[in-house]
Symmetry: C2
Subunit: 379 residues, 2 copies
């Protein structure tokens, strides 16, 4: 338990809620949840499933027609052919990550992962008594671990490497060539490459591809939360190498029986051409927000060493304007009612220097936020 | 992973599905899922939540109004006052169990639990690298561990005891006096008593009470799946001692962020008087099925040493009619298209001798099932 940290941002969020309860108007740039409502077609499919009384358990691996729809999606959008037998539908990407770690990691097994990274990753490794091993990344490598770094950190206890593309908190992607080099290295060492693709589809620059197009041996984690904007439905999926499917299914049966039935039926509407068209249009809106925010932050003296290529975050170096990002976030919230996430939540790689800004609000709100930030800097 | 067994019944279920695909009519008495549809009021509340666009994350502990509704339910139905701050809404009882074990159990910590028991319990203990320690129960003690047995199995590694009342697979309950004695013992030894009450409300004989009425220090796991008939919604809850709430919330944030939003809104309708009235009427239907089945099975030579007081299972001793319950279940399925669960899934306490019959079908179907069973015995 001592290894399982809280999200520090939660205490900020708690303070923000108290301020709001007192009538203050807080702008939220700390939240990793898209502001778009779930597309109507998905909601309608959910209502239809309710009308039909679809309220009982599905198979542990998920509805066969949803698993096939996911396979078809990969074929059409990412030109990868995947047998639907390798797809397991999960309660959110969190559920997928738990299954992957439960199947692969025993006590003291090491998992290599980037620092900075999404904090749950290392906490869930600790929960199964594995050891998360942080690789300190640098802006020069796009905040992603290189094959050379992975080789240097490999020990006889290393069982897996986790990559995220696009990544939280940096929005950076792993180029296909690096993915190839890392996949080959991990295969040589007989480990497993776990790739978090939960921001797949939200790519604004460079290639939107799946690691499965590079290597059939990797284990991919995905979600209906981000691109498909289905956060509260709690639905994700995992694509496993064939020999891991049976052990993963066994853990799924024990750990959560099955993903929510209603969400699975609703998600069938997520892959319809008209839904995908809407989602692509929303991605373009996110890109515009990113462009606006990148410019505004750089203009105020924030350094953004790696232009984020995807997700909906900017990881900004605030060392020109403060020397303690946690205190900065605290003061910014209380003096300007603007909530952001300090680097501390993402690891030990110069966390005092960084702040994550989420662009999960419309541009007029972001403009207001930047106005508040400017006021704060001019104290 | 080698500790995480599959449910053996799953391979039977797989065979049953293949038989059905070939046009055979299988009667399912192996399934631990109520056959009643989710009550209409709950479905309507779910539809309303969808119409209102309630599709985003809730707080990790769940909707405050749902947590309060659960607290009110305990006050009204079970005469226990619980601060809603101690209630955490989870993705099913599976999620609640994971949180409890994650917060309490570290590597090699021992958890005492009954044999026979629901198989997930010991598998989830293994997943966090704890050690499940089985207490071989006997019909004389109603298939429940006694305080004396718990004392005898206690070591300096014991951290918790798990009880289930009513229990799966035996349907037996823990009388209030035993609960009191066990709670006192566990408190003396400074352990934690975890009580699985997921079949609460489905009690046909004896007292339907909560362990919280006996001891405020125990950790209670509950579910909307069984009494409330919301299986596919994946919703449960946990009531923790005050000092465990914060660590449990921390794990919830990391392990699954929050329970499904829609299910939480729908569940608000579960506690309305008219819903509870419907559910109580359905419980009476289950009681009638139990009474029918008890008589029919005993009539055919099955011994049922402990008359089940709750849940929807009969754990029958079949030693008068066979000497290998697994083979019996296998043969019964293939020759009579009747699916039941062999004792093997529930532990090592004479599993060859027992079969679990679930009465999750209407009486005419159960009559047909008993006809098939009689034919089988008269081979």
């Amino acid at each position: 338990m001592q290894h399982i940290g809280p999200f520090h941002v939660m205490s900020l969020l708690e303070q923000a809620k108290q301020m709001e309860a007192q009538g203050q108007s807080v702008i939220h740039m700390e939240i990793g949840e898209p502001d778009f409502p779930t597309p109507d077609a998905i909601i309608r499919a959910g209502m239809q499933a309710l009308q039909q009384g679809q309220t009982r358990y599905t198979a542990s691996k998920g509805l066969p027609e949803l698993r096939q729809a996911i396979a078809d999606y990969y074929a059409q959008r990412y030109q990868v052919n995947i047998d639907s037998a390798r797809i397991i539908v999960t309660p959110g990407a969190s559920g997928a990550l738990q299954l992957a770690l439960g199947a692969l990691i025993g006590r003291d097994d090491e998992v290599l992962l980037a620092d900075p990274t999404y904090p749950c990753n290392r906490h869930l490794i600790s929960l199964v008594e594995g050891t998360p091993v942080a690789i300190t990344t640098s802006p020069e490598n796009g905040f992603q671990p290189s094959a050379a770094q992975i080789a240097a950190h490999w020990t006889d206890r290393t069982r897996a490497v986790m990559l995220a593309t696009p990544a939280n908190p940096t929005g950076s992607t792993v180029p296909r060539q690096s993915m190839q080099a890392i996949a080959e290295l991990v295969a040589q060492r007989q480990g497993t490459l776990i790739v978090d693709e939960i921001y797949q589809g939200l790519v604004y620059e460079g290639e939107d591809y799946s690691a499965l197009a590079v290597s059939d041996d990797c284990l991919v984690i995905n979600s209906f939360s981000k691109f498909f904007q289905m956060t509260g439905w709690r639905l994700g999926w995992l694509i496993a190498p064939p020999d891991l499917v049976e052990p993963i299914e066994r853990i799924a049966m024990n750990a959560f029986l099955a993903a929510p039935t209603l969400a699975q039926h609703a998600a069938l509407a997520a892959f319809r051409p008209e839904t995908l068209q809407l989602l692509d249009a929303r991605r373009d809106v996110l890109r515009q927000r990113r462009d606006y925010l990148l410019h505004a932050l750089r203009d105020m003296g924030f350094a953004i060493p790696v232009t984020p290529q995807g997700a909906f975050y900017i990881y900004a170096d605030c060392s020109a304007v403060c020397n303690d990002s946690r205190q900065f976030a605290q003061d910014l919230l209380h003096s300007q009612q603007l909530a952001v996430t300090p680097g501390l939540d993402f690891g030990n790689n110069q966390p005092d220097r960084f702040i994550r800004f989420a662009y999960t609000a419309e541009i007029p709100v972001l403009e207001q936020a930047m106005h508040r930030l400017r006021q704060f800097l001019q104290r």
